[in-house]
Symmetry: C2
Subunit: 97 residues, 2 copies
Amino acid sequence: MIIELLEKIFSWSGSNKSGKEAKRRLKLIIAHDRLGINPEALEAMRKELLEVVSRYVEIDPEETELSIESDQRMTVLIANLPIRKVKRFPKMSSPES
Amino acid sequence: MIIELLEKIFSWSGSNKSGKEAKRRLKLIIAHDRLGINPEALEAMRKELLEVVSRYVEIDPEETELSIESDQRMTVLIANLPIRKVKRFPKMSSPES
């Protein structure tokens, strides 16, 4: 089942600080198979993706875990985001905001 | 290794149409452990995330594979996005665009 596989990935990527009250978490994975996206563009895309997510949930920046895994075939960005709270249906991003 | 686990997830979630020339793909996974995000907000967030991605890479909409998996603990959105081309460093999203 896909969910079991994902739980393996996140226990692998994030150090699960036992004893800590298990926080609600949002997990984001971006995997691309050696697309040739340059690292700056990938970094800019990752930041924009996290900005979108933070319009929907309040992320606890101190406990955010980001990791990158790479081999000849694939590069994987993993973001393990502890959530402080879910925002009421967010304001749509308007030009002034 | 995390990448092997991810390859299992994507061969599971996306029907790999053998014979088809293997396209470059970007894979996005959003997993949340029953955060209580309402489905409309999750759908809106997913759309915004895909909009961000499409500013960096040209996605082939016909071959896009989206799936949702859910159990008592976790809900997982999986987007398997075939890429036509990587855009030159994208224009930043400006208010008029």
